[in-house]
Point group: none
Chain length 402, copies 2
Amino acid sequence: MISFPHLADIVRKNDAKIIMLVISGMGSAPDPVLGRTELEAARIPNLDHIAQQSSGGLTIPVSPGIAPGGVGSNLALLGYDPIIHASGRGAIEALGLGMTMESGDVALHGNLAVVDSDGIVVDRRAGAIPTTTAAPLMAKLKAITLPGVDVEVVAGVGHRFSVRLRGKELTGGASDTDPYEDRLAAQSSSATAKGGEATADAINAFSNQAAEALVGEALANAVLLRGASTMPELASFNDSYALNAAGISSFPLYVGVAKATGMTTYPVDDAFESHITAIREHWDDHDFFWLHYREPSTTAGIRDFNEKKRALERVDLHVRELIDLQPDVLVIAGDVSNPPGSIGHSWHAVPFVIRSAGTFADSGVVRFNERDLRSGSLGQFEAKHAMMLTLAHAGKLKQFGA
Amino acid sequence: MISFPHLADIVRKNDAKIIMLVISGMGSAPDPVLGRTELEAARIPNLDHIAQQSSGGLTIPVSPGIAPGGVGSNLALLGYDPIIHASGRGAIEALGLGMTMESGDVALHGNLAVVDSDGIVVDRRAGAIPTTTAAPLMAKLKAITLPGVDVEVVAGVGHRFSVRLRGKELTGGASDTDPYEDRLAAQSSSATAKGGEATADAINAFSNQAAEALVGEALANAVLLRGASTMPELASFNDSYALNAAGISSFPLYVGVAKATGMTTYPVDDAFESHITAIREHWDDHDFFWLHYREPSTTAGIRDFNEKKRALERVDLHVRELIDLQPDVLVIAGDVSNPPGSIGHSWHAVPFVIRSAGTFADSGVVRFNERDLRSGSLGQFEAKHAMMLTLAHAGKLKQFGA
């Protein structure tokens, strides 16, 4: 559901072209020792210059205090209500990996993992094994069959895979086997909602067969599954906004977000330059480009301040190439915050700027970071409003009401 | 619907008197050449002084990116949810012009206009013809009758009029004949919702008869109609807030907003001084005064930066007379933004201050404008919360919850 209820009454098609760059995990809180965030510490003169030319502010990913997942936080920036659309990760990621999801299909995110003889997780990510090394193990998972349930496995990046379950009476209402932290016990799946038993049984049967198939492997001896879900129903992005959108991301979950909202997707690799190349090649084919650059978030996942800083500096090196394309509106946003010292996502507000012919410098905003953008003209606002601001700056919204 | 759902539990009557001055179209974005807004360019020492003494911030008229009409944006400042109450312009304006609106009556806003022989609009406002010059043309419209539909026309200011249709099976679900821009074709009305056919037929029949009646007139040869609506159901302002409110405006639409919410209205002319005189004359009769001053918005409609600046300076010349009345709470707000270079209303946040015995200077706010008030203590907030802030400053709200 698009968050502004009367969108259809006010949306207007025009020729304006929009780029929305989402720098994943961009937001932060100051490092307790350095007293600065990664953005504050980074050398990002081009982003600073863009902030000086733009209207700026901070987005609250969901609502104050809420640390969102990748699905909800990105759907919010695309105008979907993240409180309604927080789930569906398993199905969306499977879609992003090229799986066909039919109505009633359930998919989960899987990790290859190492578990000890007591079932305690030693390494949730099997040493962050490279994709090529994981391939023979993935082949063993692909050979798994279950009675009465059609199983399909698709390998993702490194230790990651998706598994789709197709059969009667399957629902998304089954719990994860992944305990989310090392040194905790791998779980048995159970129903979390009425009718989830068959799915939980299939998840447990798959997990058991995977453990058997991996006996004797040195790098991984178990799988951990999470996010059981059917495909969420999402309003078409293009129909809702009268746009023809391209979604550009190297990461299956976000390729899935783009596909699930009806965008055309193009394959790219992890490098920010690859995203830029894709947008340049398809510049004439679309009027909205959603660029999701994952690297700052990945690096934040292992909580390395300097790695995240460098990933942000790599954006800065190439961001002017987006301006060279002469978009009518350039939005630079982040999906979530990943503060130093935190395990994962946080609730902290995230830098947001809009650069267009109709916007002017926000007095006092000198740098592109959390502290300076606090005084920007857009203030702090919930991320679900970002698309309406974007469309407004592109002249794509009529007056609401007489 | 009042936007705070538990208002009845916490509202409390006391003797405090409130003035809410709404300066229409006050907000803006910087002029692209000057780099300043009209408020920033204006010499407004009295408003600056009030901002220094007040709690201040910026209102978001509806939600980020949404440019609202006059009805929704003003109802929001009075505490009504502008997403629910965005329509009804035709009926509200008719009410403001003194028309009686019964249940089922449909009213529209009308313009006298000039249309060429191909039906293309040459001048939507018939040269902004003066009221007295328009009078004989209005007399011709008043003589129009339709079979099965009772028609009443009331002249407004200049080229404007209201037309009320009374008959069986009429609804608000019929489209406008006004194309909203010159050089576009005048439209035929059609049903926009189930059951709107009879209304569309009546609108088209009225338009045809008007064109016939105006044959041979030099100043206008057509009418353009918009905003077909029945009377919206609005909770009583006085009952909801335990107030006895006066609504003061020279403009029929806003007189209509005051009447539609149940306020007592007093006739005034366009000059700001006239509004002040009305409030002074009726000071003892009410505890809430809604002053809607239209001039800055009118002038912004023709996009003249200096005209709007001068209209704001005229407020400044007299605004201390409001303080001389010693209100317990003085609110100075704007309904929408009207940036230079834009055709109409915009989404930009609008200056807002509250001056009362219980408020203190907001550190750092030196001037009454968009930029300074960004750092005010009230922050940016949706306009629908303005009334609750106003009542709170007047001591008219009890604690919510135990």
